[in-house]
């Protein structure tokens, strides 16, 4: 069975027909040629496929495309504007927060989504005081990004990049 759906990806509107079994990730990669969301596990275990859907971070391999009719999605390719890279992207370059680069678009989307969640006051497992707004300690950043695996082991530099971007007030 197939279904028609509309997706806005990185500001561009698309009307596509997909097999109902197609994941949102495969719709982006196979149908729309989007290279930013990556397939690392296809089971929601690695975070490489993370994008921002309505400003929230989403693992696109874990849901079917047909459930996202009308969705507006921003991938790492859609973060940079006319004035250059998104500050989170620049921070990843400055801090050498990646090696092979395969988890990187997902890490960046996840980091942006995470900063927004923290700014909204959402606590994490390591937040001590649930009544207070969480402060972005290293432990908070690590905990909140632990859904994004990096097998090259760039974690130290990713935390540095997220702090750089956060200090620049890009949440």
């Amino acid at each position: 069975m197939e279904s028609k759906l509309a997706l806005t990806v990185d500001g561009e509107e698309h009307a596509i027909v997909v097999d109902n079994r197609t994941t949102l990730l495969d719709a982006l990669r196979d149908h729309l040629g989007s290279t930013a969301p990556k397939k690392g596990c296809d089971h929601g275990q690695c975070g490489s496929c993370t994008v921002l859907e309505d400003d929230r971070r989403v693992t696109t391999c874990l849901s079917l495309a047909v459930a996202h009719d009308g969705a507006s999605i921003v991938t790492a390719s859609g973060l940079s504007g006319d004035d250059g890279l998104h500050p989170m992207q620049q921070a990843f370059i400055d801090q050498d927060a990646f090696q092979c680069g395969y988890c990187t678009p997902g890490q960046i989307c996840s980091a942006i989504g995470m900063l927004a969640e923290a700014a909204d006051g959402s606590p994490s497992f390591v937040t001590d005081d649930l009544a207070e707004a969480p402060s972005l300690t290293d432990a908070e950043i690590r905990e909140r990004l632990s859904g994004n695996l990096c097998r090259c082991g760039a974690y130290v530099n990713i935390v540095a990049a997220v702090k750089q971007a956060a200090e620049e007030g890009t949440a």
Partner: protein
Amino acid sequence: MTGAIGTSTARVDGIAKVTGTARYAYEHPFTDPVYLYPVQATITRGKIDTFHASAAEEVDGVLAVLSPWNAPRLADISDPELTLLQGPEVKFRGQIIGAVIATTPEIARYAQSLVEVGYAEEEHDTVLRTDHPDRYPEDDPQTIGDDVDQALSDAEIVIDQQYSTPEEHNTPMEPHTSVARWHAEEQHLTLTTATQGPHSVVDTLAPLLGLEPQQLRVVSPHVGGGFGSKAAPHAHDVLAALGAMAVPGRSVKYAITRQQGFVFVGYRSPTQQHLRLGARADGTLTAIDHESFSQVSPVGSFSENASSISASMYAADSRRLVHHLVPLDVPPPHWMRAPGEAPGMFALEVAMDELAVAAGVDPVELRLRNDPPRDPATGNRWTSRRLVDCLHEGARQFGWQDRDPRPGVRRDGEWLVGTGMASATYPHVMMPGTKATIRHNGAGRYTVRTGAADIGTGAWTTLTLISADALGISPDRVTMEIGDSSLPTATVAGGSSGTSSWGSAIVAAAEMFRRQHGEDPDAGAQTTGGVSEDPLAEGYTAASFGAHFVEVRVHPGTGEVRVPRMRGVFSIGRVINPRTVRSQLLGGMVMGVSMALHERSVRDPRFGHVVTQDLASYHVPVHADIEDMDASWLDDSDELATPMGSRGAGEIGIVGSAAAIANAVYHATGLRLRHLPLTPAVLLGD
């Protein structure tokens, strides 16, 4: 030299990677692609009796079903790992025994489930054990110096223990992907694949497929990690090629699933090790006897030789090294970061910590006392052996002095706290054979082309810096081209040899270019040069060294081990790009934490497959597992090793790091643990 080498430089592929526009193998713009999904054996040993594909073939959208009976015949079947679909034999569970090619990935995967396979099943054996009746020594024991048994019986202190490391899988974030297109008229195959060496893929696959090298092009500009598993073509590359030949003119896309990444793309064999150290009362080593065992596949010969690390690491007048192979019904083990060195150094460096305790000598001091002035394996001079400097600098950075050696006495709240250290080493490898082409594009701009691979190492950038200095120009005037077999031939990104091998070729080509074309060449001037032999002089041994220092916290109630602080100091020759080298060293150390605490592929002996075949059950560190960690290096240059003065940096970070953590766990708890990984169950005495 313009000083590009040594300048911290952002990756030239950085913008492409942070915007997700760098194209990995699956992501190139293929016209009208089709999708392949394999059929895998559901027995571990035996023969295929029946292969019924009609139900699959009838599915709308299925273009072809490959089986051992209808697949194209291979021209060269000398490598059993790559001899795919040529007969009914099943040698390991999950072996590729067929494939479905269809117009969509969903159809291919569904149709594959309709293929009915019948087997004549035989008994199998997948358990590594040192008393296995079929075990055999890989080579004669390597005996160096005096009789080791005599030296051990004369020794004042003897450490005599068994160690083991588990089966581990490389699991790069990008699952192996191969996209093949057979151009029937031109009789030409294009393989867009994730590889650590485009030319090595051509060298291996062209004869297999009955092609001349010029009939096969391998494209691989960006690779999502490899850690050895992409250092040679595996079964999936052959399958994509066979699939392409079945549907000429179509791009056949095959991205392995994460689960398939635990089957046929290589892994680190488990090791069992027996180590005996003999020493005088002051800890001076007199004997090293290192015996190791790893498994070997019926369709491969790769050997995880863990004992050879003990040949050159420390001084001792008598030494014996032997490695045994145990043939099992398993997929072929293959390279995984520091193969042999990583598991071998775990055993040696834990044994050294045990010797330090037995002799009452500080672990750093013990290593200083046993530093060999010449390579004990050969009597060679070292080009540069600065382990001692790494130990001193690491101890200084970490604050090791005045360490209380008593185990199990420090508490911070509920947590037991301890510190540990270990040495690191990795041999210098320079592979001759790389060629590079230098072309002047006009206006002082140059293109440098070689078939190297950047698997995350930073080669795109590192080779740009080497080219700039070799040509005496600024790096922004260099355009690198790598990652394609249509470029001049290059050796593989493996054995920490990439920068040494490719960089040496670029330096040689640039010198030749200047000789031929001078400092003010015409636009279009071009020279191809390279290095045909390793410049290391007879009588020298070159190797990198390092030292890891670790603090751990162990929770006695849960058995959890945390690593709040870790420092690595390395001697790796001249550092080409400090920014990317630090990342490589840190990445190796993270993989050492992973080896120590997390990774284990659990192979079920009843069914012969790895049960922990995804990233939920095969554990690697996440952000929350890595805390305060840093890597640094000595101000160094080793021009006897390479013209840049550099040595390899890709693997040394994982060597010794797991031992440093195990030694710190001993210091925290008093538990001497010799079998990885150190999971909570192990800490709680399971």
